[in-house]
């Protein structure tokens, strides 16, 4: 099992290194296949490990830590280079390597003809390695290492189109936001080390109940900071929409399926600490709820196909946070898995559309695509239904469970969360189908018509890439792109059956081996919530249909709100005014008003003073002999008087 897990971890790294060192010797296509193969090898390892684990009996046996060497040590503090394979991490490994493999495969077609394909595939493989390190890491420090490296991979991939200033800026923003999260996590770890002397999961979790509540709350807060930053939750959410500047498969893999959900994994992984810190748990749930509502509201007015999906991602992760914060680890993880399926599907489908339209992403330029891309229409519909939570699609099963958990928590706070979750479901319905209808129905735009035949015209003017996809295949998509989309569509459809609320809980029990849920809804709660949620979701979908498909309802006019949403609640402007500008100002002022005149200037001044003193002494040296004699005589007088006086 462990060997397979190591294979799983190292295969993508080997792929990345091979592509890097291969350089020009490797053809572009070979790089793509190498990358894909390495990720699928990782998936194979994960599968082998999974079945090995299933073969074992008890929860204790199913959790195994492997430490080949000490990664870092100082004094009595040791951190092993260890991986932990247990029911939670194996789920993540499967998702990461599986979905990852599909998306890398998809990329071969999508990135066809890109200028720097090799770089892209190396980055992708590197990302998968980093993500696997994150989930397999056998202690908090390695988790943090993976945490940072996925941030790095994210930076590299968002900024892949480095000739576009927006892409570079977005990459920087993502990295810095994540660095903030890394920093708060590190702070939490420092406190943990100071109090417990260790960062290993076992020892620190065992020590958690014995820590003072201040300590444990602070540690949990630090962890939550990391989770929030990585998962683009309030208040560190602003980087995710910008990250859509990256290639679409990147958005699918990193910013939908895997990396952004790492925050949820973190909470689940460190649940013994969070469980000691109730306020932080509630905070996590509250942030999740707030994010899911706000992201949903913003998604209503976005016109970029990827950004709409990105906000929906934020919103869905909000659900997961809600669940994880409430202690429903299995439900959160379940939603994580299904979300990986259907969100990756949506992104990839969007990618197909963008690919088809030579890089166009604005939904106002689309319309009527159903006629030209029926297969895409179908998978997009599957994804949308799953997202909205319509049974039997996977999203239904997982989202309902979370909403039900909120209800089960009870109390005023539980009700607030519950209402927020329901409101979010409504919004999901609206924005999902707004997108769906705007893209696939209505009159085809000029652009769509231009690309309809697909055999002619040059497509070199897309926004996504300067070089464009000049020779993409006819029809909807090449095989390498179609296959992953199809698989994901299937998974989105049936993936929810891993767990059927109130009836069938293999997934819940599996996860419970690592973290038992704190709150479990009753079967009746489950069923009631299911009905309500589906109803609300369908209501939202109907509203979207009424407005955007049939025009029966007018687009509600509220310019103030519209502007608020379009400006994403003014978070960017706020951070710019409160953090960025003052920091730059302070830095500039320090440079010009302190460093220059005082720190460096003082040296210059001392030098000048020395020169002046020298000039003074030299002026006394008049060259006149009598002055010299006078100096001697006067000094003699002084010396004699002193001698006589002191004697």
């Amino acid at each position: 099992m462990i060997a397979a897990a190591w294979l799983c971890l190292l295969a993508p790294l080997a792929g990345a290194l091979a592509i890097t060192f291969g350089g020009q010797r490797l053809s572009r296509r070979a790089a793509g296949w190498l990358s894909t193969a390495s990720v699928f090898v990782a998936f194979g390892g994960a599968v082998v490990a999974f079945f090995a684990m299933v073969g074992r009996d008890t929860a204790a046996q199913r959790s195994e830590l492997s430490t080949p060497f000490t990664w870092l040590s100082a004094g009595t503090f040791h951190v092993g280079m260890s991986i932990l394979v247990d029911p939670v991490s194996i789920v993540m490994m499967l998702v990461v390597s599986g979905v990852g493999g599909l998306i890398v495969l998809y990329s071969i077609g999508y990135m066809e003809g890109e200028d720097e394909e090799r770089r892209y595939f190396a980055y992708m493989a590197f990302f998968v390695f980093a993500m696997l390190l994150l989930v397999e890491g056998g202690n908090l420090l390695l988790l943090l290492a993976g945490w940072g490296l996925v941030g790095l991979a994210s930076y590299l991939l968002i900024g892949f189109y480095h000739q576009r200033p927006e892409a570079v800026a977005a990459a920087k923003k993502a990295f810095i936001m994540n660095a903030i999260g890394d920093a708060t996590m590190a702070l939490g770890f420092f406190l943990l080390i100071a109090k417990t002397g260790t960062l290993s999961y076992g020892a620190s979790f065992a020590a958690a109940p014995h820590l003072s509540s201040t300590t444990v709350n602070l540690v949990a807060l630090g962890l939550l900071g990391g989770a929030v930053a990585k998962s683009a939750q309030l208040p560190l959410q602003t980087w995710l929409p910008d990250a859509m500047e990256g290639p679409t498969p990147v958005s699918a893999l990193i910013h939908a399926a895997t990396m952004v959900t790492a925050g949820v994994y973190l909470i689940v992984r460190t649940h013994p600490i969070f469980e000691q810190a109730h306020h932080v748990e509630d905070l996590a749930a509250g942030l999740g709820a707030a994010t899911l509502v706000i992201a949903g509201l913003i998604a209503l007015v976005q016109n970029d196909i990827k950004r709409v999906i990105a906000y929906s991602t934020m919103s869905q992760i909000g659900y997961m946070f809600l669940g994880a914060g409430l202690g429903a680890y299995a439900n959160a993880m379940f939603h994580l898995v299904t979300h990986a399926f259907f969100k990756a599907l949506l992104f990839l489908a969007a990618g197909v559309i963008i690919h088809h339209l030579a890089g166009e992403q604005d939904i106002r330029q689309m319309g009527g695509l159903k006629k030209f891309m029926p297969k895409t229409w179908l998978v997009f519909l599957v994804g949308s239904l799953s997202l909205v939570g319509v049974p039997p699609f996977s999203g239904f099963w997982s989202k309902d469970a979370i909403v039900a958990t909120a209800l089960a928590r009870g109390g005023i706070y539980g009700w607030i969360l519950f209402v927020a979750a329901l409101f979010g479901a409504l919004l999901t319905g609206i924005y999902t189908f707004r997108l769906f209808f705007r893209v696939f129905y209505g009159e085809p735009s000029a652009l769509v018509l231009e690309h309809a035949g697909a055999a002619h015209g040059d497509h070199g003017h897309g926004t996504e890439s300067a070089t464009g996809h000049s020779e993409h295949a006819h029809g909807e998509a090449p095989q390498t792109m179609a296959l992953p989309v199809a698989i994901l569509a299937v998974l989105s459809t049936v993936g929810g059956l891993l767990q059927v609320a109130g009836a069938w809980h293999p997934f819940g029990r599996w996860i419970a081996q690592t973290g038992a849920p704190l709150v479990e809804p009753t079967t009746s709660q489950d069923w009631i919530v299911s009905v309500i949620t589906v109803a609300i979701g369908l209501t939202g979908s109907w509203v979207a249909w009424a407005i955007y498909r049939t025009g029966r309802l007018a687009v509600p006019s509220a310019p103030g709100l519209q502007r608020l949403f379009e400006h994403k609640f003014y978070f960017d402007e706020l951070y710019d005014a409160v953090v960025s500008r003052p920091a730059q100002l302070v830095a500039s002022r320090l440079r010009t008003d302190f460093e220059g005149p005082y720190v460096e200037g003082s040296l210059v001044e001392i030098g000048h003073a020395g020169g002046d003193a020298g000039g003074l002494v030299a002026r006394l040296q008049t060259g006149r002999l009598r002055v010299y004699a006078f100096a001697i005589a006067a000094s003699l007088v002084v010396l004699g008087i002193v001698f006589l006086a002191v004697r």
Partner: protein, 102 residues
């Protein structure tokens, strides 16, 4: 000891030394500066001789004689220099010898 006691002599010696010093400090002619130096040496000599008498040892007198020889040597070199300077047609004024300075 007949006549004035040692301090009287010493008064003269000290006064001569002081006068010589003033001469060196105030006069600009190198010749007169040399003469002033001679007066300083003579003051010292007088002190030496006086102390010699006071202690009843001839050391001081011997010293004084040696000093005379040294004074003669200094004058010899000094005058040689002054002549050399004069031959260069330079003004005999120590204040004007201030090209080397700073």
């Amino acid at each position: 000891m007949m006549g004035p006691s040692v301090p009287w002599y010493l008064f003269v010696a000290g006064a001569l030394f002081g006068i010589g010093t003033l001469g060196v400090l105030l006069r600009r002619s190198p010749l007169i500066v040399l003469l002033s130096l001679e007066i300083m040496l003579n003051g010292s000599n007088l002190a030496l001789v006086t102390f010699s008498r006071h202690f009843g040892t001839v050391d001081g007198q011997v010293f004084a004689i040696a000093v005379m020889a040294v004074a003669a040597s200094e004058v010899c070199v000094g005058l040689g220099l002054i002549v050399a300077v004069a031959r260069k047609k330079l003004a005999l004024d120590v204040d004007l010898f201030s090209e080397l300075r700073g």
